[in-house]
Each structure stands twice: as C-alpha cells, then as structure tokens.
C-alpha cells in the first residue's frame, strides 16, 4: 500500500493546522456596533459577595446611591429628590417615586434601610465612618428615610454619595440587583463582568447594548490591548504612553482633572525640616510646571496648594506661588539653621512617577546646597513609615472619591487627623499639622453649614500650610483614559469611579 505521507509531513501538517486554528480563534478584535469593553485596573469581581454579590460598586453603575456627586464635586439628588436636617443630628431623605429595581420592584424606604443595614452588618466600621449608629437608618414612610448621626454632621449627604452606598434590592439572591442604567448579565470571577442596559431605567435606556468591564492589571498590557483593538476604552493609561496613543490614528486619549493633589508632606517636627526657613527654601527650589511637563508628560496641573482645584473649597487661584527662584532658596538655606544634614525623601513604590519626581526634587535641593536621599517602601508599609515620622519629606497623593471632601483637610492637617494622630498621641507632635490654631479652623470648617463659610475656614488652613512650608505642592492629578478613535461619548467625571458610560457610541 502506498504511503500517503511521511510521519514528519503528518506532524508538520498537524502543527500548521493547529496554529491556523488557534490564529482563527484570536478573535479579540474591538466589539462590533454598540458593544463596548472597558479595561479596568482593578478586578471588578473582587468585592464582598454578601454586600454587592461580588461585583464592584465602582465604575459599573449597577447600583445608585441616594446622593450624586456632580462634576463640580458637589452633592446633587439621585435616588433622593431632596434632604433636610430635621435637627442637628437627624437627616431625612425623600425618595424619587419613579425608580424601579432591575427585578421590577419599586424603590421603597424599607429597601433603602435594608441596603444600608446590609453594608453595616458586613462591615461593622462603616457606621462610624459615616457618623451614624448601626441602627441609625430607619424608614419614616414609604418614601422617606431618616438617618440619625452620632454628632452634628453637616457634610453627611456628601458622605453617602460614595458608591459604597449604592442601593440594592432586599432580595439577596446571587444576581446583583440595583436601580442603575445597567444590569448584570454575566460575571467571570477574577476576569470580567458583562452588563446590559436596563430597559426600565427612568431616564431611558443606555446606548451601549452590551458593556463589559475587563480587569487588565498591567498598564502596558492595557495599552497593548487598546492598540490591538481588544478593548474600546482603557483606564489609567501610563502618562508616558499617552502621546503615542494620541498620535496614532486608531486611538485617542482623554484626560480629566481629578480631586487628587500630589504634594510633599514636610515633617514639621523632625530636624532639620523643623526649621521654617529651610522649608521655605525647599519650596522656592521647586518648579511645579517643570514636573508636570517633564515627568508627567504634560498631564496634570501645576499645584499651588494641597487641595485640587476641582474641590469646591480649594483656593488654588488665591494662593501665592513660591517661585521657582533658586537664588532666593540658597539665601534662605544660608539664613536657616541647616547644617549639611541629609534629608530623607520617602516614596511609595506603587507610584512609578514618584520615583522620577523624587529624583528631580533631590537634584533641585542639591542645587541649593541641601542634600537628600530617597527611600522607597512598599505600599502596605508606606503609611506606617510615613505616620511614624521617619522621613523629612514624603511624597503623597490625596483625593476624594465622593462629594465628601472634608476628610482630606482633616486627615492631612489636623493633629488628630489620620496622618498626624500617631505622633500626636505619642509625643504631642505629628507630621505636617501646624498646630492648635489650624486644628480649630478645620473643626469650624467641618461644622460650617454653608459652602461659603466652609471655604473661608478651609482657605485660611490652606494659606497657613503653604505659608509655613508644611507642604510643597506639586500637581493636581489628571486621570488618563485611552480609547479607540471611533469611540465617543465618555462622560468625564473628576472621580474616575463615577464616569458615566450611557452615552458611549461608535462613530462611523
């Protein structure tokens, strides 16, 4: 019998066939029509199963809170039509009456109470965070919910605009059931979730027929996936890659100013940065515009203060600028008590830009005759090292992901704030808390009932920390989204968790 083919030929043929078959399977091209895939930096299926049925409350808009955070970082009605402080510690929220859950049930006050209690049961620390007792949420009637706070808390409505407090249906089945414009179609643990528009949504059906959130942790892989066309939108593109993506004909880049400020926290209680002249000298040495242009690839805004200009009570425009003026900085160093000590600069290894920024700062300090060394620690150790006061200078980034921003100024500059508390309780010092007068201003701002009054108090805090050199402001951060050039309709929001996807379209 004649031999049809040799063993080698058979093997080669099989191999070629297999490669061809696999290549055929490489069907990761961009979604067709109105289906969109968004690459996220965090696993959208990682959350606590008993609270959100395993899906993230961020990004997806499956759940909606009572209160919205506007693009001006202020509160606005969402599931609640309005709210009022009945007395100093009691808030009542009236619910919209045209809201239905994805399972067709109407939104009621009981459902809201149940939803809050579900979060409280799973996380016993949450009531303390929002200033209510664990049984402090009750239904007054079908459409009114009452919150009892443990102390007067004017910023309470903003606190519950956090996406943690998205309202869920009391039915604790496997399927996440909210009131948002999207409902869950498929969950792939550790990989992705696929959503479809909720046809019964009160403001009309969202445009995307399918919206998939896919976890791609590595920033370079997110960029490559975008270039390949496997995703339509990619979150947190490395700033260094933004120009190339913007220049390519198939891709585009959008940036949004965030509530996060990058700054150097200057240790007021550790020698030699306990010397105000030296702190001012360091400030005069720094060129914020150059940091934004050269390190951040032009993405970001040079900062004057510690609070991003997107936050309503930021007084960025009213704050003085220091320079840069290195001659003046040298004079101040000479006039200070600095005696050639080495300043320690602490950075978090998670933030790759911080390494370059720290090196740049160190170079400028060298120019004015101040030596410094950089110490990098891993993210989990960073906070402990920082709050222990081990460094003279620490690169930090602070922002808010809800309309409640008061906590920022308290955490940073109040003696009992989370950054200063450890040292303050140990020896009455802290890190970058200027002292009792600033503490008092922060407390007054926290209790202020109008934005104008709050702004007055917090403006004074910002001026004082800048004047005393307790911080070296660097930049206000911008988030970077990469997208396919034909994808439009990303509704930018300062908080990237809150970006709205309902208007996504594919242009012809």
């Amino acid at each position: 019998m004649p031999k049809l083919c040799s063993r080698r030929e058979l093997l080669g043929g099989t191999l070629a066939g297999a490669v061809g078959l696999l290549a055929g399977c490489s069907s990761s091209e961009a979604d067709a029509d109105d289906s969109f895939t968004v690459a996220l930096t965090r696993d959208p299926t990682r959350e606590k199963w008993d609270v959100y049925n395993g899906i993230t409350p961020y990004y997806t808009h499956v759940f909606e809170p009572l209160v919205d955070t506007t693009t001006e970082m202020e509160t606005a009605p969402l599931l609640a039509t309005d709210w009022e402080a009945v007395d100093e510690t009691t808030w009542e929220f009236s619910l919209r009456e045209d809201v239905t859950f994805h399972n067709g049930a109407s939104l009621t006050a009981d459902a809201v109470v149940h939803s809050f209690n579900r979060v409280f049961e799973q996380w016993a620390w949450v009531p303390g965070w929002i200033g209510v007792t664990s049984d402090g949420v009750t239904a007054v009637d079908d459409t009114t919910v009452r919150f009892e706070t443990t102390e007067p808390f004017p910023a309470f409505p903003g606190t519950i605009s956090h996406q943690y407090f998205g309202i869920q249906h009391p039915d604790e089945s496997e399927t996440p059931t909210g009131t948002g414009p999207y409902q869950v179609d498929e969950v792939k643990p550790g990989q992705s979730i696929r959503l479809t528009p909720f046809a019964g949504y009160r403001d009309g059906t969202a445009n995307p027929t399918e919206l998939t959130f896919e976890w791609i942790k590595d920033p370079n892989t997110r960029v490559l996936s975008l270039e390949k066309g496997s995703v339509d939108v990619a979150q947190q593109i490395p700033k260094s890659r933004a120009t190339a993506l913007a220049d390519a004909p198939e891709t585009a880049v959008d940036t949004y100013l965030t509530p996060e400020a990058g700054l150097v926290a200057v240790n007021l209680y550790r020698s030699p940065t306990d010397d105000e002249q030296l702190r001012k000298a360091l400030n005069w040495a720094v060129d914020q515009s150059q940091i934004v242009d050269s390190v951040l690839n032009g993405i970001g805004k040079p900062a004057r203060g510690p609070i991003s200009s997107t936050i309503p009570w930021s007084v960025h425009d009213d704050l003085p600028t220091y320079g840069p003026d290195r001659d003046r900085a040298r004079e101040l160093v000479a006039a200070s008590g600095y005696n050639n000590e080495t300043l320690s600069i602490l950075i978090n290894s998670k933030n790759t830009d911080d390494r370059t920024i720290a090196q740049t700062l160190s170079g400028w300090f060298e120019e004015i005759g101040v030596t410094s060394e950089i110490r990098q620690v891993d993210p989990a150790s960073f906070n402990d090292t920082f709050t222990a006061g081990e460094a003279n200078l620490t690169l930090v980034g602070f922002g808010s992901n809800s309309a409640a921003c008061d906590y920022l100024i308290r955490a940073m500059f109040h003696s009992e704030g989370s950054d200063n508390r450890k040292r303050y309780q140990q020896d009455g010092t802290g890190i970058y808390n200027p002292g009792p007068e600033v503490d008092r201003l922060i407390e007054q701002g926290y209790r202020a009932e109008t934005l104008e009054a709050k702004r007055d108090y917090y403006a004074e805090v910002q001026r004082r920390v800048v004047d005393t050199g307790a911080v070296i402001p660097l930049y206000y951060n911008e988030s970077v989204f990469g997208r396919q050039a034909d994808v439009a309709g990303i509704d930018g929001h300062p908080v990237d968790n809150m970006i709205e996807w309902s208007g996504l379209t594919r242009e012809q």
Partner: protein
C-alpha cells in the same frame, strides 16, 4: 519504597510544611504594614480610612492578638480543613485557590511541555555534534533564553504575534489561544536551562562503554540515542524539571500580570501587598504541598528511570 520509608517521608513532609507555614506567618507578621489600613483603603476606592474604622477592623479580624495566638487560630482551622477567609472580601481562601488553580496548572503544564519540546531535541542535537554549528546555535539560544527577562519576552511576543501578525490575543484566560504566548514566554526560559543540562548529560552518557557496544552491535543511531542514551541522561534532567517548578510558580507571577491570567502567583503577590494574611498563608501552604509532592514524585521517577537507584528500601 516500603511502608516504613513512606511513613518517614510523610512525616518529613509534614514537618517541612509546618516550618514553611510558621516561617511565612512570622515573616509577614514582622513586615511593616497594617493589613487593616491597607485593605480598608482598597475597599474604599483609595479613600483614607478613619482611625476608628482601622481599629474596628483590627478587632474584628483578631489582628490585635499576639503572633502565636493568631498563628494557633489559623493552624487550628487548617487542621480542620479550613484555610480561612480573605480579609478583603471575606471569601473562603479555599474557594479563591480553587478558582485560580486551573489557570496556574494549565500554564505550568503548557510551559513545561514547551520547555521539553524545545530543550530535549536541542540538547540532543548539540551533544551529538559538539562543536558543530548546531551546537553553537543551541548554546547561544540557551544563553539568550536564560538571560532574557520574562516580562520583556512577554511584551515582545505580544507585539510581534498579537499586534503585528494578529495570531493570538493580547491577554486573557478564556481559551487555548490565550495559553500559547504565556507558555512560550515561560517555557523558553526553562528550555534554555534544560537544554544545557541535556547536552551535558548526553555527552557523558554517549562516551559510556555500553553506547560503544551498542554501536559495535550495529544498532541504529536513533535507537541508541533515544532508547539507551537519553533514558540514562534523563536522571539529572528530571531533578531539574522538579526544581524548575519553582521557576514556573515564581515566573508565573510576571506572566500572569503581563498576560492578565488570574492565577495563584498574582493571588499571592496581591495578598502580600495587601497584607491579607489568610490568603498569603493558604497559597503558600499549597505551594509548599506542591513542592513537597513534586520532589517526592521526582524521587519515585529516579528508580523508574534507573532501577539501580534505591529510595531506602531494604538495605540488603
């Protein structure tokens, strides 16, 4: 291997695993970093948790207990078959491992397959003609394979095979097509090491008298190489393959990140950075078990390959 020897091996394994778990728990415990603050910050989407929240979290999860108390609690649960729950989302560690394990196993098996397919023919070709062009090519290839960082090769393969040639997807873990580039990346590094070892072992064996005798007997070269020489050369190679498992598990972290394959490597690394102790302990214990079993399997394979090797049976 008799029953007594088996018992001795099992006891040794148990002691090794106990030591591994104690060491891991101790190391992560003394490493700076507060699990409460780290996990709460992640849960709150980057927002800073209040001190009260941190303290409450610590109390809820027994993080204020002394080291030995925490370890004893964990070990007590493990002995009852419970690896604990993640601090982050309260999911069972066993479930998290089961969810990720198939991806890791698939990657490990495919990588070792790729490594063997490349390394054994290259090593043999190199050994059969030492000093030839094929030998130099194999040795240079091995050197490049050993020197090339995994992540770099991974990105290179994505750019060439996915972006330019459009053959494979960039990332994901959905099907076989998602396994090709990761296993090529991981397997090529292993192949470099194994190929060099196969070459050396084959060179030793090919000089042996029984090979000369087989040739004198007129056996075909293919039979001499593959049936007689290779089998004897495989003993050190099998040892290295067993040890290379550590390379697979360590290298898998990078590969899993670059190719977005959710596996045990990234589960462990993310848990270390979050100070999610139960997950770190659970995954470490599993990796320890895999290592110990793998070494045991390697020992058993020795006596299969070379019956002269005795694993401690009857000394007579």
């Amino acid at each position: 291997m008799n029953g007594q020897e088996l018992c001795k091996r099992l006891l040794t394994m148990a002691i090794v695993l106990l030591g591994v778990s104690l060491l891991t728990y101790g190391l992560i415990f003394i490493t700076p970093g507060d699990p409460a603050r780290t996990i709460l910050t992640q849960q709150m989407g980057g927002q800073i948790p209040s001190q009260e929240a941190v303290e409450q979290f610590r109390a809820e999860n027994g993080l204020d207990d002394p080291f030995l108390v925490q370890y004893a609690h964990w070990m007590g649960d493990v002995l009852q078959g419970d690896l604990g729950h993640s601090y982050y989302n309260d999911r069972s560690v066993s479930e998290m491992i089961i969810q990720r394990l198939p991806n890791t196993i698939a990657l490990a098996v495919a990588s070792i397959f790729v490594a063997l397919v490349i390394a054994i023919p290259a090593g043999i070709a190199s050994a059969r003609n030492p000093g030839s062009q094929a030998d130099y090519a194999a040795q240079i290839g091995s050197l490049i394979g050993v020197s090339m960082p995994n992540f770099w090769l991974g990105y290179l393969l994505i750019i060439v095979c996915s972006l330019r040639l459009n053959l494979f997807p960039v990332a994901g873990a959905a099907g076989l097509e998602h396994l090709i580039l990761p296993s090529l990346t991981l397997g090529s590094g292993m192949a470099a090491v194994i190929a060099r070892l196969v070459r050396t072992a084959m060179l030793d064996v090919l000089d042996d008298a029984y090979i000369q005798a087989a040739r004198a007997k007129g056996l075909r070269e293919r039979i001499i190489i593959y049936k007689h020489a290779l089998r004897n050369a495989l003993v050190p190679v099998v040892t290295i393959i067993g040890l290379q498992l550590s390379y697979v598990l360590n290298g898998a972290v990078v590969i899993e990140v670059v190719f977005q394959r959710p596996g045990l490597g990234t589960l462990l690394v993310d848990a270390i950075f979050a100070r999610d102790y139960p997950v770190v302990q659970g995954v470490t214990l599993l990796i320890g078990v895999i290592f110990v079993l793998m070494n045991f399997a390697v020992d058993l394979t020795y006596s299969r390959l070379d019956p002269r090797i005795d694993l401690g049976g009857d000394p007579t």
